[in-house]
Amino acid sequence: MQIKDHLREEQAFLGRAIIAGLLVILSLGLLLARLAQLQIVEHDHFTTLSKDNRVKLIPLPPTRGLVYDRKGVLLAQNRPAYSLELVPEQVKDIDATLQRLRQYIPISEDDLERFQRLKQRKRRFDSVPIRVNLDLEEAARFAVVRHLFPGVDIKAQLLRHYTSGTAAAHVLGYVGRISKKDLESIDPSNYAGTSHIGKTGLEKSYEALLHGAVGVQQVEVNSVGRIVRVLEETPPLPGQDLHLNLDIDLQKIALEALGDHNGAVVAIDPRTGGVLVLASKPGYDPNLFVEGVSSKAYKALREDRDRPLYDRALRGQYPPGSTVKPFIGLAGLETGTIRYDTSIYCPGYYQLLGHEHKYRDWKKWGHGPVDLDKAITQSCDVYYYKLAHDMGIDAMSGFLAQFGFGQRTGIDLTGESRGILPSREWKRRTKRQPWYPGETVIAGIGQGYFLTTPLQLATATAAIANNGHLMTPHVVAYLEDRQSHARSPIPPNQKTIPIHEQADWDDVRTAMSHVVKGLHGTAKRIRTDFYAIAGKTGTAQVFSVGQEEEYEAENASKKNRDHALFIAYAPIEDPQIAIAVVVENGGHGGSAAAPVARKVMDAYLLPRLYGDAADGLVDRKGGGTSS
């Protein structure tokens, strides 16, 4: 152990301090040399630059691309708006100024709150909006007294406006003021002069294309800095316009058809993967967010029990219930577990060998003898309990994975959920537990761990309709350049599901057609003479029913009622639309969800199949006669 030698330490420190001092002097000498280089050697050069520095660069923000639906209806536009703004640095007493301003222009508490919030975020010499969307009269009233308010001024800018309001809120998303976090992921120069950026939905996923490129104006200023003339201008490159596959009228029809229920409707063109409808109910008004939503309004939206901000179509994860039966039936056929005419006896329940537990059928007294056609048409659960058990979870989830279950579809929107395709591997990975045979049984009717999004269901249905082409769904059909009007289409993207036996696919599609047109089909009430529909109903349990209890839809309180599901495509011989409907707490798929699908398909198909004569048809048939 050493003893501290103070004198020696002091000497050592002194040595280091001298070295540090010398380095400091040396570094300052270096700085001075650099400054001398700029101020003496290159002085003339910089003087010239400085004298010529009458030229200022002003960023010209590009105008944001517009969004149109498939028929050319404008969904997102840019509207000129006046806002009242204040530069904190130039105002001595901000509170007093705001109070005085109120004599001329109404300023609400929400406005004040937003002002305070934005003021925190910005630098003192940045201008902060007090009021937005002034009407012309208000703007004129302020113009008269403007000289009384140094540091306060009116600014004109283009503001985003969504014409369809709540109807397409989740798909379109919204723009909001650029936050610190946004700044980390963008090139700040390109956003010089831009105040808003896409926060959710298409506005976010297509941000780079919608925004465009910033322009620069070189202006000459006089000795007091006022602009004398514009020397040179690189105009901004406006953002590209988005033309969607989405049909806003169809979307509204879908939302209306859901009635009082929450839920989601997704419709896809099976030939291209183009998304015709991507509806989630309830919605919200995206226009609220453009100028910054007040925290009170935001809190109300967030705490709303119906969760309007939540995109059910993209993120909602529901047990697929019986809608998964055509897929599992196809799996049974293609893996050779069953044949189309394999018949079993359904006594109303199913038991695993050596187990007491009864897996019950929805039909208490059973379906009797059942083959695959009947199992799909009448949605026999026992048939599927047995099929799933015979096939085994590995073969089943392996086959279903080809339809995209448990994976993101790759739609051109951010934030979609994966859902869950139960498998041995999945359970080991997430729950660290082995797989139990009983779990295979309930997976066979789309219950248990099984979760799908409405978008996944529609995509998978489209793949059945178009004979094994899993099309990546996309909302945008093509981009259009504002100046050259050149269109760049989004090419369809697909994965092909290998077909083992073509007859298997044809058989499953036939069974799905019987769901609607068969005498005992669970969706027979949406049958129509004008085109042929193939579909499958489903009911997803919200809460589990005990072993000896019975589920009675009528008595269950609304929140506990089952979710009603329906998948379909039409027309059968030339599928043009594939659809998935989820009606939350709707009860039965056949009565609650199928009519919604029918209304959407009518609205989409009748004009295409019958042209102008379609109007009369819709009226007469009433777009689905059932309740």
Binding site: R16, A17, A20, L32, H43, T47, G225
Partner: protein, 379 residues
Amino acid sequence: MRLSGPDLGDLTPTDPNRRLGVLARIHLDLPLLTGLVLVATFGLVVLYSASGQDMAQVERQLLRFGLAFGIMFGVAQIRPEQLSRWSPWLYLIGTLMLVGVLAFGDIGKGAQRWLDLGVIRFQPSEMVKLAVPMMIAWYLADKPLPPSWSRLGLAAALIIVPVLLIAKQPDLGTSLLVASAGIFVLFLAGISWRPILGLLTLAGAAAPVAWYLMRDYQKQRVLTFLGPEKDPLGAGYHIIQSKIAIGSGGIWGKGWLNGTQSQLDFLPERHTDFIFAVLSEEFGLVGVSLLLALYLFVILRGLYIASRAQDTYGRLLAGSLTLVFFVYLFVNVGMVSGLLPVVGVPLPLVSYGGTSLVTLMTGFGMLMSIHTHRKLLPR
């Protein structure tokens, strides 16, 4: 002012407090105080011009100076032994607060990195700027110097933890300052040259890794530094305009309030990070030399105080704080004159703003405490 001398070890047997007069009795060091006040005054003169002759802004800055000098005065009253005792606790609290900022800071999108104290705002990372050199000095002062390899390793770890926490915020400028504060203590503690050279080599090798870890906007800054003309609308514009301002100032400058670059709004951030360019334009090389001379005086006085300190803790802390002050100066002037990439480091005591001011003046308060609390015990 003498840095060295053979007579440093022996103190005259008179009371240093009485010898140094009334200021020393209230624990202020006259030369250091004079240097600081001169720099601050020069700064206010430049600020008046840089703010576009906005007296309100100058008043606000004056208020901050008042507050900062008050804090300095208060800190100067605390005995160095007390500072030493607090060191590990300050370090612990500071580091925990950094963890807190990382864990909860996201809620307010960065707004919660700050504590609002009215006139000034406070960041945990500012506190760590002081706590790290205090901690390292406290740790090393305990045992004979130079430190053993194992103690050196632990000291390095004590530096790295808060530095990484700050770098993750992400605040590259501050994390560099904190790292340098710690490294200066090690250097002054007399560690051999081998680890120093090793560290420099490591830093060189770490550059590509750092590039990989950097955020886009940080990469942008480096790219802009390498080729400012490529981004004339963004950060490159700052450097181009700032070089024009400095260069066109010449030897004598364009005169106070007459800098065209500054007054006509060509120079961005001209009252904060780029205020040195305003000074260069309006006061020329002469004004710049004067300011640098004032800074040099403050730094040398700081090193002198360090070398006269009576214990290892005081020596290491005073030396490190002084050298960090120099780093502020060097990085800011280097950045404004285009020698270094744009890092958000203010010109100490001159740039508009209160956060770094309070930290710096607290540090100077510690220097004054160390210098004026000396005992006349012969060791």
